[in-house]
């Protein structure tokens, strides 16, 4: 766990390069991530058509030079919609994961450091959440609170909290009596400071992996919610909704409506998953061999 120590940034970068060279797929994932971030930042500026403008006389056109990904049932350009949707989809997954990361970390740290009845209560609470079929819980929350972007974020965050809390709790728990923690405490640091500055950072590397995997999973979760009609509000383009609506057109031959957003969505999730794997290799040299 040398990763957490800060004065080794040079060797860290060297290490990353070393890992990337040995692992071209992780390098590919980083490149993909960069392009997705570009789409998210500049998407609306670079697309050829207004993603919201309908043109029913031009509806359901197959992919062509003018419309790379074809047009949908209202004549909107699928390519433009797919690109513009990147920002929203990344936003949903990043904010959901950030939320569950923060809440999960706090809960996990507290339970892991102080233990006792706090720990017991938290464990039962997390068990209760975990005992729910998670996707259905998310469905229920969005159905109950209304289908807005915020509620999709909250629902996705809530069902992820247990994973973070468990992870942090375990990491904190095994270190609270470790030599460096005791030393920090003896030198006059408060519990909170020891926890926040000395113990918690050690939990970060494994968390990074979890975060990366969860980003992909959050996108899939939002797409699933869209499929049953609990997605974001039209006409906002979102990959899940586009796949879900396009799915009804596949059998009648308009495969491009679902295929392109589907592939794009898959590529995004794929990127995050590969990234998670790659991060695991970077942070845990033992598994890298």
């Amino acid at each position: 766990m040398s990763m957490a120590s800060t004065n080794k940034s040079d060797s860290l970068i060297a290490h990353i390069f070393y890992v990337l060279r040995g692992n071209p797929i992780t390098a590919l994932a980083f490149i993909l991530l960069a392009s997705f971030i570009t789409c998210a930042l500049f998407g609306p500026l670079i697309v050829p058509y207004d993603p919201l403008a309908s043109n029913t006389s031009n509806a359901l056109m197959p992919p062509s030079v003018d419309h790379w990904f074809g047009t949908d049932n209202l004549g909107r350009d699928v390519f433009s919609r797919v690109i513009v949707a990147t920002r929203l989809d990344l936003l949903i997954s990043v904010s959901a994961v950030a939320l569950s990361f923060v809440i999960g970390s706090i809960l996990g740290s507290v339970a892991g450091y102080w233990g006792g009845w706090l720990d017991a209560i938290l464990n039962r609470l997390l068990d209760t959440i975990m005992a729910f079929p998670l996707f259905v819980l998310a469905m229920g929350i969005v159905a109950a609170l209304g289908n807005t972007i915020e509620n999709i974020v909250y629902a996705t965050a809530l069902i992820n909290i247990p994973f973070y809390a468990r992870l942090v709790r375990a990491e904190v728990n095994i270190r609270r009596d470790a030599g460096f923690a005791l030393a920090a405490k003896l030198s006059g640091n408060s519990d909170l400071r020891v926890l926040a500055v000395h113990i918690f950072p050690n939990a970060l590397p494994p968390m990074m992996v979890q975060i990366s995997l969860n980003l992909g999973w959050a996108i899939l979760n939002a797409a699933g919610l869209s499929f049953i009609g609990l997605g974001v509000r039209p006409p906002t383009p979102e990959w899940g909704i586009m796949v879900a609506e396009g799915a009804n057109f596949v059998i009648s031959g308009e495969w491009w409506l679902a295929l392109f957003p589907g592939l794009w969505l898959m590529l995004a999730v794929f990127t995050f998953n590969l990234l998670g794997d790659g991060l695991r290799d970077i942070v845990d040299p033992r598994k890298r061999t």
Partner: protein
């Protein structure tokens, strides 16, 4: 166990009603001409229409498995399809009837038999009618529409004579006896299974029909399938040609389309418009599309919302709808256009007929300016999640055009569980889509539900003194009364001018057939399998 299954194969179906019996082995659907496999997207949740909580798709059981006193006739539509005929009332359980201003007397067919072989008597009719008005909920409402409100009105004079005492003479009473609700139950069987807590045997009839209809229920697996088996001893009409109909529930429309196209099923009920349009060009498939009578898909501006109190604003909305695009994207041309009528005054009392509005954004802007709303306003446009397939594209197109006249609409998707509450009961959606269709095919009936203050489908909170008076005057009036047509024309003229509902189009019911023919359209838009024939 396999022996019992073989026994089952040999039986002609005479005594089998239990849903738990194993399912008959049949040939592939395409090879057996007297077995039909139908698919639909919705689920049947009860075999008893009168029960609380019975959903729409379940009404088909009341149609196929039970009979009524009377039925409507059958006609061939201009495009060669088969439809019920609203203008003809035919005998079903009753053989003949006499109507005076104070009562109706029905003579039942002698020899009429329930599916268990027992005779149909006037006592059964009386018990069934009492049940329809006593259990509350939708059945009671529908009975009331025909001025059938209390058990005191019904009397079994003798075994084969049934009498209804009329509260008022109304043209609606006789046709209301031919809707699915007043179906006749075998009261001996039902009463044998009734309890003190459940005097109307709702628990029993919920799972076990006791009727006299053309089909029996051979198997019901809720959420999966329902199997109809022909009643070979049917007494109320001609015995159907088809021996067995399997109705399978397949939620995904894409899957239903594939199944029909590949010939794995014979009939796809209530197809999405787009699929119907595409399959109508495919050889070997027959798509029957019938406009649903007395029904209009509408855009409703709610008068409880300040901006819509001014009729000019409502008219502006009506002029801003991109009707043709809406019709193409929402209905794929399946249905009847309801816009672009020639005059603000109707020339006849046909209903529904084209509203005198068309897309005219300049006119819309002028009207908004006149109303002092030139700068526009914000309004939520609500659609139901349950009908998203057509509501969403329509709402998007309307939203786009409203933006052009300065009205900023945001689309709200309302979950289906909440849709009725929000739109019809609380009537709190400022601008929304609505789909009312009246079972009884009269304009006054449509007005009664949609334009009278407080009435359920008046989701626009509309009130107009003249409409209130004229609707109640015409509701029970015979249509050949010389006052009828002028009054109806006046009513149409008012709501055209005031547009509390903006007509988009008249919807259609599309049924895809592969290897079967003669699906009969009914006003209730549910699957009637009695008239189906193999090709």
């Amino acid at each position: 166990m396999s022996a019992s299954r073989r026994d089952f194969l040999k039986l002609s179906g005479g005594a089998i009603t239990a849903a738990s019996l194993p399912f008959l082995k049949v040939l592939p659907a395409s090879a057996a001409s007297d077995v039909i496999v139908a698919v639909m997207g919705q689920t049947i949740n009860s075999l008893d229409l009168h029960r609380t909580g019975t959903n729409r798709p379940s009404y088909q059981v009341a149609v196929n498995v039970y009979d009524r006193l009377v039925s409507f006739g059958t006609k061939v539509t201009p495009d060669g399809g088969v439809s019920y005929d609203y203008s003809v009332i035919e005998p079903e359980i009753a053989e003949s009837w006499e109507i005076t201003d104070s009562e109706m007397i029905f003579k039942l067919k002698p020899g009429g038999k329930f599916q268990d072989g027992s005779p149909i008597t006037a006592q059964d009719v009386k018990w069934s009618f009492d049940r329809a008005v006593s259990l509350g909920g939708f059945p009671a409402v529908q009975m009331k529409a025909g001025s059938l409100e209390s058990p005191d009105q019904f009397e079994a004079v003798d075994d084969l004579t049934f009498k209804i005492k009329l509260i008022r003479p109304s043209k609606l009473t006789l046709p209301d006896l031919a809707v699915p609700v007043p179906f006749v139950i075998n009261s001996k069987v039902a009463l044998a299974n009734a309890t003190d807590d459940d005097p109307w045997a709702t628990e029993y009839l919920h799972k076990t029909p006791a009727g006299s209809g053309a089909f029996k229920v051979a198997q019901w697996k809720p959420g999966e399938q329902l199997v109809y088996e022909r009643n070979d001893d049917y007494t109320s009409g001609p015995v159907p040609e088809i021996k067995r109909v399997i109705v399978r529930e397949v939620p995904s429309p894409a899957t239903r389309l594939a199944l029909l196209e590949r010939g794995d099923v014979n009939l796809s009920f209530n197809m999405p418009n787009k699929d119907a349009k595409e399959l109508s060009e495919v050889d070997g498939l027959a798509i029957q599309t019938t406009p649903i009578e007395n029904s209009i898909y509408s855009l409703c501006p709610n008068l409880a919302f300040d901006a819509f109190k001014d009729k000019r604003v409502r008219q502006a909305i009506a002029y801003s709808v991109p009707y043709q695009e809406v019709f193409d994207a929402g209905a794929y041309g399946r249905g009847e256009p309801m816009w672009g009528g020639p005059s603000m005054t109707p020339s006849d009392i046909a209903w529904p007929q084209k509203f005198p509005y068309a897309t005219d954004l300049d006119r819309a802007k002028d009207l908004l300016k006149e109303a002092g709303m030139a700068s526009g306003f914000d309004v939520p446009l609500s659609i139901s999640l349950g009908q998203i397939d057509w509501m969403e594209p329509v709402a998007l197109l309307i939203q786009e055009n409203l933006a052009k006249i300065g009205v900023n609409a945001t689309i709200e998707k309302v979950p289906s569980a909440n849709w009725r509450t929000a739109s019809l009961v609380e009537k709190r959606l400022p601008l929304h889509l609505e789909t009312f269709g009246g079972w009884l095919n009269y304009p006054c009936y449509y007005f009664f539900w949609c334009f009278l203050e407080g009435h359920l489908f008046n989701s626009s909170n509309y009130r107009n003194e003249e409409i209130e008076v004229l609707t109640l005057e015409t509701l029970h009036m015979p249509i050949d009364d010389p006052d009828y047509a002028p009054k109806i024309k006046r009513m149409i003229e008012i709501i055209w001018d005031e547009v509390p509902r903006i007509a988009l189009w008249q919807p259609a019911l599309s049924v895809g057939m592969n290897g079967v023919k003669d699906f009969e359209y009914w006003f209730h838009s549910q699957l009637d399998v009695r008239n189906l024939k193999g090709v």
